[in-house]
Symmetry: C2
Subunit: 201 residues, 2 copies
């Protein structure tokens, strides 16, 4: 055989086809208005293929959520060395929330928050939370090193609080039927929390 690269499996093509059609349909009609049957019909595949490549209907939607991880890191690495870690945290949160709102959208976020609560196992959400967790911990470690954090609080405590404040803002925003932005929910919240965390001088 001349071609050295293993011939791509049929499956990869099918998977891509399903994904493309599904994402288009979700964008057009919204997650709940699209059925798996629609997807396999429009992509000329079958249920068998669908569930060969994806664990569930929401799983396929969650694929988009993998982009978040990259974004986390990107933001993290963009900070100048000497920036105040508390400020880094604050900016990090705002960029994050903005990204989730603008790039992901409320519909996706709601599906993700639902799926995470329902599934016993792995979801991209929990994975990426782990990555988010790592970054906030790093930033917090810096802050502790510079003695900026109330010494009554452990790293775990603080890091958990940050996570919770993100979840709280997002969940609350997801409940809302208005156009009020996610950032407007999270900004004062995170700011106040960071103030509470900081060493009182």
């Amino acid at each position: 055989m001349i071609e050295p690269v293993k011939k791509q499996r049929r499956g990869e093509e099918t998977k891509k086809k399903i994904l493309a059609v599904a994402l288009r349909l979700f964008a057009e009609k919204g997650f709940n208005k699209v059925t798996v049957d629609d997807i396999v019909k429009k992509s000329a595949t079958s249920k068998g293929s669908f569930y060969q490549h994806f664990r569930s209907k929401s799983d396929i939607f969650l694929v988009r959520f993998t982009e978040v991880d990259n974004y986390y890191l990107e933001v993290y690495e963009s900070f100048p060395e000497n920036m105040d870690p508390i400020e880094k945290l604050s900016i990090f949160s705002q960029k994050l929330m903005n990204f989730l709102e603008v790039e992901m959208g409320k519909d996706l976020m709601k599906v993700i928050y639902n799926a995470a609560l329902e599934s016993k196992e792995h979801t991209y959400f929990l994975d990426s939370n782990r990555s988010l967790f790592k970054i906030t911990r790093k930033l917090l470690e810096e802050a502790i090193e510079e003695d900026k954090i109330d010494s009554e609080l452990s790293l775990d405590d603080v890091s958990t609080m940050i996570t919770q404040s993100f979840m709280g803002s997002i969940y609350h925003w997801g409940l809302q039927n208005t156009d009020r932005s996610l950032e407007s929910f999270s900004k004062p919240f995170v700011k106040t929390l960071l103030k509470g965390i900081s060493k009182t001088t």
Copy 2:
């Protein structure tokens, strides 16, 4: 007719019967393991009756959640006049979280959080949140009156933050597969938030 009271409608009996059986089954096997068919079979009623009296499967489960409202008020009214409103808030949160964990349980809370995110309309959750909202606002108004709150923050801001911190703690706890208590999630969080909210003297 001698009896002055209107004869109770058949329906009331059926409703009670369904409710009793359903709650028992939920307690025995957990919400997701019980089907509506199970419930109507065990209660010797029918789908028609079930949906005549309840809007959905989760709706029936949510009935239990109405107790929360009473508890909110009870706690609120139990505070002595002259207590520091910030302390009231702190105690209120802890009692609330404890109640949700012990009396409602994680399973119910997860269903509620899911249902709220999915439904476009009314749920007991949103209703009772409104009531929770009122109480936290009252407590915050007291605090503002006594000039205990950072004057940069509006009543709305602060009240929203409190709500979000509850939601964040509960959601995060719901995600957890460990036995870690809800109170252990919310306590440091609320404490820190209240510190951030308070006027720095």
